[in-house]
Amino acid sequence: MNRRDFFKIVTATGAAAATAGCQGASEQILPLVVPNEQLVPGVASWFATVCRECPAGCGVLARNRDGRVVKLEGNPDHPVGQGALCVRGQAALQGLYHPDRFPGPLVREGAGLKPATWENAQKILVDRLGALRGGGRGRAVALVTQLENGSLGALADTWARALGTRARVTLEPFGYEAIRAANRITFGRAAVPHYAFEEARVVLSFGADFVETWLSPVAYTRAFARMHTFRDGRAGTFIHVEPRQSLTAANADEWIRNAPGTEGLVALAILKLMLEDGLVDRRFADAVVGIDVKKVAAGSGVDEATLRHVAKAFGHARPGLAIGGGVAVSGSNATRTQVAINLLNAAAGNVGRTIRFGPDAAWGKVTPYAEVADLVEAMARGEIEVLLLGQGVNPVHALPAGLKFAAAVRKVGLVVSFATQPDETTALAHVVLPDTHWLEAWGDFSPREGVTGLLQPTMAPVRDARQTGDVLLGVGRAVLGSEEGKGPLPWASFEQYLKAAWEPAVRGEWAGALRQGGVWREVAPVAVQAKAGPVEAGAAALEGDASGFALLPYPSLRFYDGRGASHAWLQESPDTMTQAVWDAWVEVPAEAATRLGVATGDVLRVTSPHGAIELPAYVSATLHPTAVAIPLGHRYAPYHVPRYVAAAPTAMTPAALLGPARDAASGGAAWLGVRVTLAKTGARRPLAILQATHDQDHRELAQHVDLRAAREQALRGRAAPHEPISMYADHVYPGYHWGLAIDVDACVGCQACVVACQAENNVPVAGKASAAYGRQLHWIRIERWAEGPAAQPTNTFLPMLCQHCEVAPCEPVCPVFAAYRTEEGLNGQVYNRCVGTRYCGNNCPYHVRRFNWFQYEFPAPLEVQLNPDVTVRQLGIMEKCTMCIQRIIAGKDHARDEKRTVRDGDILTACQQTCPTQAITFGDLKGEKNAVSALRHSPRAYTVLEELGTRPGVTYLKKVVREHA
């Protein structure tokens, strides 16, 4: 019996998710026909695989309950991510169970795509390929995939060679070509190196949004936290240069706002000042001969004093790390900027220490944008007869409109898509051969040299899908007229191909590799020599009328290039900086807003030489006055409308505004390439912004301490806080006393915990209108509190969840004991007892209690993802964070099996498990040795709204703010 039958069968058992209120008793219980040793009904089993939501390739463990994957967690053994997952990785489940997923192969009939059998659908492709091949016109066939540097890629290339098609194009909207080109120029090595953040004392970033999307966000965020978070008196410094206060910028100890496109100049100016102070290698002096610091200061809007102390800080750092990326550093001068940054590193002697060539990132394998452009031109000229688009690519949506992909693709005779769900590109496809979701698929991916992760099916396909590898093999053989075991494509299936390809690497240890999730080895760093030549500096050239605003189209933390946008969880997890959900917006600098008389929510018409889109404005006090910013990749999935949003706007992504501009040196797309003009349309589209205000009104919710003071306390320890006075005897805990500690200094506001919690605890999605009206249902939220000058605020990210107070205001007011104090120090919430008076919700000073205003639905097949260990709440019920009670129970159960008590670290809450910066710690407060107790007694420890005497079970550690380095 294969997993698919098993899936069918076990989902039929009544063991599925529960609803408070006894409805839907299942009529039948179905046993297995043949026992499956891998899966015991009611017991979770874990499958290691690799996340393919972006090319970072983090390791994943998929939790399979009764044949369906219900939760994803980072794979602790995997070098990338090391157990953490980002918000997109957590939400991948919604791609697996996406209600819009193609039910099976589709063939275009007139306007629409109609269901077809695999045979017929493939036959169309086979015939066309056969004809072309017969006519010797194999070059008229093009294969485009996302970054597939493993077996699938290899197989595709073999296939392409066998059929004599064009070389496969690996399409990634962000190819980091500037970095590759710059490294070729400076170090003679066109690769994306590995950056060892954890080694650096000072990180100087030029627009590189590593907390959001840059290269490998999870891995680098974790490494950054290791370098930056205050630990026993030591903490590194992080300086960020960017025109816009991105999430990464908000995490910087010093955010330097520069004019768009001037990063290169700033970098060189800093280098020059470092040279002047004699802090660095004089060999690099001639790189900055043309640089006049005063001019740069004037041009970039970064005053000289700032430049000087940054130079000092970076120069003194042994080692430091300078990085560049993001939209701001992807203009016409991208490569030159990166070269300048390379020189900074080289001069400061960071190369080889914090920058390591050798373990190069997979990004190096992305097809240059120039070649993509060539393909598009070929298509436009009608030279392409057959275009095969692999899973994960949506060029119509993701590529700059200036490339005119949509127009070109219409010229293609046969467009075949392997996408799993409908998007702008499949709308133009003739045949859809849905690929399996990566959680259902075999495969492998190598995020960087020496690390190769293995993908394995974690469950039976939810829909009638076939792995692209299998389809290619089948089609290829049909075209070649060869059969299994013979010819250039002998493999029976892609699985077989994969195993064959891996045999030399694992040498029979296949099962072990699968269990571990791949194989990894240390790769020795390659020594490189920096070539110190003069750099012709200059600001990025911008197209469009000079009075307009420089457009910053930035990849969003939640949607990346748009791959995440169809996931409701991501749509509803707020953008941490604006706290907006669901809709897209254009970030307008405050000055311009007042000039245009625009308020947040007014719809603006954003016009560039290449197009125009209409978006609601978000007035930002921090954005550089000459720029506007729009997140990339915004789109709705069909099932979002009208369920979660009233209507789907035509275009929400700024890709529609971009021209064909390129970075001269590398040929990469120039995301920073146009100026736009703004015009009020008069319409209003209020944004759903979850946080009422970013000003904490002196209430000390998010507290911080100066680095010096923190050191002081770390050494001397802090004066013992006075014991709270009470008329009542202290609460006694017969068994455990669970508690949570959250290090505010570590939290970067990436929202991963929010979605992890949503997945773990069956938290429904409310939709835009509800969320806008304070009816969102997240059990944990990331608040952004801003202090200091409006234009240059210091941001603190405060994860807020049920505080599990010992003296909980919510408990005594409940008339039916639905809220009460458990023996183990939790604040229990008994759903089936709740009557819904909402008194507790009023009386909770933290407002972390969530109410089921309606009967929220889980559109099929999303309900299959529901965690069977957690009740699905009926309408009219109050709910809130339970500290993952189901995990606590499981942990205790496991300990009982081993006839012991729970050890520290046995139990991880969902939020803690996924946190890239390990800001959250759960454990038993009674054990003095336990990590959580240690943190609770840390000098930085405090509780929110302490003066109310609620005695929370959640301890926070103050953020450490650095006096300017």
């Binding site: 609460h731 909980a808 205001p809 408990e811 005594p812 409940c814 009460y820 104090r821």
Partner: protein, 171 residues
Amino acid sequence: MVGSTETIVGVFAHVDTTVRALEELKAKGYHDLTVYTPVPVHEIEDVVERDRPVSRVRLFTLLGGLTGAFSGFMLTIWSAMQWNLVTGGKPIASIPPFVVIAFELTILFGGIATLIGMVVLGRLPKLRPSPAFDPRFTRDRFGVAVHCVPGRGGSVREILGAAGAEEVKTV
């Protein structure tokens, strides 16, 4: 009640005449009287109540109230002990809030007991009207019913008539 008596009813239009009649009858030693009035009039009460104990309704009230208070505390404390659930870090048997419940029950039980007292002592509900009753008594007439041994009726009639009864009848 004594086996066979005759009942003579005098119907009065005025309070003072009624009072006079009552005084007379009492003086003559007729003590088995029933007075019907549309409203309680204290001139008449003064005469009637003179030689009677105070109503015992208040006893009912007292007992009811005490029961209420007791059961109030019992219910709250006992039920709290059932599960020993701590809410808001307060003790299991937290008296102050329970006082509220006890108070309310005191009033409730007290009130109901009073009602019962009134009904029982007032011999309510009265299924069939007593022969001496006359619909006018609920409007504007006062009635004096004298229950006496047969044969004494004559003198009673006299007294009533002399006092100024509009009408004297035997039932």
